[in-house]
């Protein structure tokens, strides 16, 4: 008996250790960025244009650029991804075609982000003649997030008990009415989770926007979807590796803003989700 108790303690200890291994880097990153970047934050840094080859002034256009990219790419990928997931989970039969589509989705998730960038360059920038623009970058990012949205949406739909569908159909509801009024409302919190994950990814990716939208230095705000834009992750890369003499605070300040932006959007979406859950 004693031996079993010891084994149990040891087992829990190992599991706890594994959990700490996950948590410690997260805390370390946040702390490092906070400590080193906090001093750089100021009204000027957040809300003015960069000056003096980005060695002075602010990062306002990069913040706005990232914001645009998130909004436009989610506006594209959320509806498309959700509709595809609904089709796959509620309508499609299990046949060779569906299995091929599933395989494609899994593979799409495994493609490296720089390849998405190259793809976006050839399809949107060159072939469709969008030029290096917010729309080209957003679509590239949107396609990159599609697998995440499809997979999480499908899991959310699958988590809705089959019996609800049976009941709804037995009451004379059509398949679409059942999806619309019984399945989707139950799955919405899960779908939102997928959207949240995508927002974080879109805001943080550098490679897909490298050739499709990102401007090295553009001290003005974009006025339309066909404009180039600065974006926080690319800006961070530029000021870290490409330009000598940048104050260290600028780098960590930029990183802090990037993390903060994603955090704010995540919290907002989580609040939305829990509100929705409570309402029912």
């Amino acid at each position: 008996m004693r031996n079993e108790a010891f084994k149990q303690k040891l087992g829990f200890g190992v599991l706890l250790l594994a959990t700490l291994v996950v948590v410690i880097p997260v805390l370390a990153i946040v702390l490092l960025v906070l400590v080193k970047g906090w001093g750089a934050l100021s009204w000027t840094f957040l809300f003015t244009m960069p000056q003096d080859g980005m060695r002075a002034g602010g990062i306002f256009p990069a913040i706005i650029g990232t914001f645009y990219l998130v909004i436009v790419s989610i506006a594209f990928s959320l509806p498309v991804g959700v509709m595809a997931a609904i089709y796959l989970s509620e309508y499609a039969r299990d046949n060779a075609l569906t299995r091929t589509i599933n395989l494609a989705i899994i593979n799409l998730a495994g493609v490296s982000s720089v390849v998405y960038g190259l793809f976006g360059l050839s399809l949107f920038v060159v072939f469709l003649k969008f030029g290096v623009s917010i729309i080209a970058g957003s679509l590239t990012l949107g396609i990159m997030t599609l697998p995440v949205i499809i997979t999480t949406t499908r899991e959310a739909l699958r988590a809705v008990p089959h019996s609800y569908r049976e009941v709804s159909r037995s009451l004379g509801a059509s398949r679409w009415q059942t999806v619309r009024h019984t399945v989707l409302p139950r799955a919405l919190p899960g779908i939102l989770t997928g959207a949240i994950l995508s927002v974080g990814r879109v805001a943080g990716e550098t490679a897909p926007i490298l050739f499709t939208v990102a401007a090295f230095y553009l001290p003005k705000l974009p006025t339309s979807l066909s404009d180039q834009a600065m974006a926080l992750p690319y800006h961070l890369y530029v000021i870290t590796t490409q330009i000598p003499g940048i104050p260290e605070g600028f780098r960590y300040g930029t990183a802090l803003v990037l993390i903060g932006l994603v955090l704010v959007m995540n919290v907002a979406a989580s609040v939305l989700r829990s509100r929705y859950r409570k309402r029912r």
Binding site: E166, S168, S170, L171, G172, A173, S174, H181, R280
Partner: protein, 253 residues
């Protein structure tokens, strides 16, 4: 106890799931305003039979159905859409499954899906249906509460009310009291007996006593065949087939 005209006519009905034959060419007429109770051990095809009558069996992609079913002499596979059919032939499942909505919205679900938007009319339907299911007095002050908070017995009566809201001509009960206590069971049976006055009822049950209590006629199913069909009293007192007798007296091995 006068038998009405034929409401549902089943001819040569077979159901197969892959290689497994669940129903083997069954023919039966279900009469208006009767309670046809179907008894039999598990896997005898009772539920498959029931699900053919409102085409819920179509949701099971594995199932292959042969034979014909007519409702008021109209072929249910040709003369009517599955949605309209299910509004006329309602179904109560073995487990009460309230949708994750309020009590009111559960009952109003069917009528809403058929396009009814008028609030006053929906309110009337909700009240009438809950009354007919003997649930109104218990829930009238909390129609906006989640239906999932109700007790099991109340949930099953809610499901009956939800089906009644569509004013179906036929109601199919699939072992509706298998998960309920005796008092809740009595209430469900009372509701079924009351409904019989205006509707046709088919009730599948594992509980032979229940079949004897509420049935007008009773059918005994065994391994996909209908062994015997007759007035409930006859089935339980003087069955013609030895297997029926063995089953109703509980000597079934």
């Amino acid at each position: 106890m006068t038998a009405g005209r034929t409401k549902i006519s089943v001819r040569g009905l077979s159901v197969a799931y892959g290689r497994i034959q669940a129903l083997k060419g069954l023919s039966v007429d279900i009469l208006e305003n009767e309670i046809l109770t179907i008894i039999g051990p598990s896997n005898s095809g009772k539920t498959s039979f029931l699900r053919c009558l409102n085409r819920m069996i179509d949701l099971d992609l594995q199932a292959r159905v042969k034979g014909s079913v007519t409702l008021d002499e109209i072929d249910i596979r040709r003369g009517v859409s599955p949605e309209d059919l299910r509004k006329r032939v309602g179904m109560i499942f073995a487990m009460p499954i309230p949708l994750p909505l309020s009590i009111r919205d559960n009952v109003a679900y069917g009528p809403r899906m058929s396009g009814l938007r008028d609030k006053a009319a929906l309110g009337r339907i909700v009240e009438e249906s809950l009354r007919a299911a003997y649930l109104w007095d218990e829930v009238k002050d909390r129609l906006g509460h989640p239906a999932l908070k109700l007790s099991g017995g109340q949930q099953q009566r809610l499901c009956i009310a939800r089906t009644l809201a569509l004013d179906p001509e036929v109601i199919l009960f699939d072992e509706p009291t298998s998960g309920l206590d005796p008092i809740s069971t009595a209430k469900v049976e009372e509701a079924a007996l009351e409904l019989r006055k205006t509707r046709t009822i088919v009730l599948v049950t594992n509980n032979t006593k229940q079949a004897a209590r509420v049935g007008t006629r009773t059918a005994f199913f065994l391994m996909g065949d209908m062994v015997e069909l007759g007035p409930t009293e006859t089935i339980f007192t003087a069955p013609r087939d030895q297997r029926t007798e063995d089953y109703v007296v509980g000597r079934f091995g």
